[in-house]
Amino acid sequence: MTWSVHHSELTTATTAQLWDRWGDPGTWHLDDPAVEWAQFDGPLAVGTTGVVKNHGTPAQKITFTRVEHGRAMDFVVRLPFATLTITHDMEPALEGVRTTHGIVLDGPLHRLYAAVLGRKLARALPLVVRNVTAGALRSSATTGKPDSSRRQKNRRP
């Protein structure tokens, strides 16, 4: 009852840099061309809710289900008869960090959603991961430290 796909890449960005980038909803529209804007309703923690607005679709409520600071962050989107989970993982590997971005579909209609939604999202995973790592490296180069000040900034127009 599950369909999933993940994409991993190695990078020299640190887990702290990646965590800061993944955890800043103000950068999601920069890293994922599908996203129009995103916001969190509170500090990043299990149970925190937020909203993600993709281009051409209604805003979706998201709920964080796993938050391990500097290591992992998952949130879910409830769909009719299915749940879409977006995963983000970071772990030291080789001479850098392996960062993994994934999509998991559960529920009775997971196959249908995989066909109409999942494969399109999956195709975008490599681009999103490379944008995130590039953004993480850039922000570090600019500020010299992770930029956590923007984490809760509301980017809704």
Binding site: H7, E9, L10, T11, T12, L94, E95, R123, P126, L137
Partner: protein
């Protein structure tokens, strides 16, 4: 009566094309001087050693019917060996890795049917393009108004077909399908004998490597020309010209000649100030025929370990940064060498990151294809041709829509005493090593014919 000159012919650019031109002219008894901006010869070919393996950083492959580069390599005593392709190729596509053999990657039956449909339509169009004269093609301007990407959209190509041709586009021209003129692409494929010969290893343009490296050909040609002939580190800043004389200006001074052969990529023609200015179409050509962006990575291992798993080392990936790989190990397999290409949008981004990040991203991609052992090479190097100021990109020009039908003829059209070479100007195998050599030889023939007709003046060269 014409004033005396320093040499009969001045050649700008010591890539294979400029060197082939100079050699051809010298063999005909004409005096020649070659000016190269970089501190080495070869232009878009260069070689180095990494962990004892010889690495071709630029142009690498040759194939059948590329008779000019093969003849030049033979004359210079540079040997060849076949590109390794025994075993299964890999396709990393939509997060699945599949093995396959032959030229057609396993993209599923619907994908395959669509690919064959679009390819047949594409090949039909290529057959309507006269080699060397794309402007004479039926509907040339209409074809030139489209990009490869917009044409694929008009054919309702599936996403898989589009993505596969995007891989071809990135590695062949260093750009995305949405950036390049359809007419240019059709002509390029046509003059390379079709998609099959252009993309194939056995029987195609990737069939062989040079044992001593491609760069060695350029080095040996330059050696035979003589130290006093080839001037390195001498960018030509300005060319003053009249009907029968040129004056080249470098930081070291001026050189006068009866003719000039400018053998640089079309876009780099604009780095030279011509006095008087070139005609408007020639200037537009230099502005609009920008070079693609292609980078290469090489990972060197103690052995070609992928062969133990029955793999050829050739692969295609839709994820990047490395979109295509080849086994570039030496003929005795004393080292394992994987060559990967990074082109188009991803190359522009990848080129800009720090060396350590480039390395880890490239190895990450190789690891996805060939497993954990690929993550720990004994040596690694990458070559970013887009970062080379006197090359400007690679592997060849990638003109956008509207820049071909009206400007292609200007590639070779002399302006006064100035003639043009460089692989882009070749009638056959333009964009390849062979095109560089044949274009240089063609420009030299043009010049030689003109100068022989005025031989008494030519003899007055100092």
């Amino acid at each position: 009566m014409t004033e005396s000159v320093d040499v009969d012919v001045a050649v700008v650019g010591a890539g294979l094309s400029g060197l082939a031109a100079a050699r051809h002219l010298q063999q005909r008894g004409l005096s020649v001087r070659v000016f190269e901006a970089m501190d080495r010869v070869g232009g878009r070919v260069n070689s180095t050693r990494v962990s004892e393996a010889l690495i071709d950083l630029g142009g690498t492959f040759v194939g059948p019917e590329q008779d000019r580069i093969l003849a030049l390599a033979d004359e210079m005593g540079v040997g060849r060996y076949r590109t390794h392709e025994a075993g299964d190729h890999l396709l990393l596509w939509r997060k699945e890795t599949k093995r396959y053999q032959g030229q057609t990657p396993p993209v599923g039956l619907p994908g395959l049917l669509d690919l064959l449909r679009v390819r047949a339509s594409f090949e039909r169009l290529t057959r309507s393009i006269p080699s060397g004269r794309p402007w004479d093609a039926p509907n040339a301007h209409e074809l030139d108004a489209q990009t490869l990407g917009s044409w694929l959209a008009s054919k309702r190509a599936s996403q898989a077909t589009y993505d596969l041709l995007a891989v071809v586009c990135k590695t062949s021209w260093g750009c995305e399908p949405s950036e390049i003129s359809l007419l240019y692409v059709l002509h390029y494929v046509s003059q390379a004998g079709g998609l099959g010969p252009m993309l194939a290893t056995r029987g195609g343009a990737q069939e062989e490597h040079f044992v001593e490296g491609t760069h060695e050909i350029a080095v040996r040609v330059a050696d035979k020309l003589g130290d006093e002939v080839v001037h390195l580190g001498s960018p030509v800043l300005r060319i003053d010209w009249t009907d029968d004389r040129v004056t080249l200006h470098t930081d070291a001074g001026t050189t006068t000649a009866r003719r000039a052969v400018v053998a640089v990529p079309p876009a780099l023609r604009s780095r030279i100030r011509f006095v008087p200015e070139l005609p408007a179409p020639h200037r537009q050509l230099a502005q609009r025929w920008s070079t693609g962006v292609l980078s290469k990575i090489y990972a060197v291992y103690d052995s070609p370990f992928w062969r133990e798993a029955g793999l050829s080392g050739m692969s295609i990936s839709d994820e990047g940064p490395v979109f295509i790989t080849f086994d570039a190990s030496p003929p005795d397999a004393s080292r394992g060498v994987l060559l990967g290409f990074i082109g188009g949008d991803y190359a522009r981004e990848w080129d800009a990151v720090a060396p350590a990040e480039r390395r880890i991203r490239a190895l990450s991609a190789l690891g996805d294809l060939f497993g954990e052992r690929a993550l720990a090479p004994s040596g690694y190097i990458d070559q970013r041709w887009g970062e080379e100021p006197w090359v400007g990109g690679g592997p060849t020009a990638a003109p956008g829509p509207g820049a071909v039908a009206g400007l292609h003829a200007r590639l070779t059209e002399p302006v006064g005493p100035i003639h043009w070479a460089g692989t882009e100007t070749a009638r056959r195998w333009a964009g390849f090593l062979d095109g560089a050599v044949s274009a240089g030889e063609r420009a030299a023939r043009e010049v030689a014919v003109e100068l022989m007709a005025t031989r008494p003046e030519a003899r007055r060269a100092r």
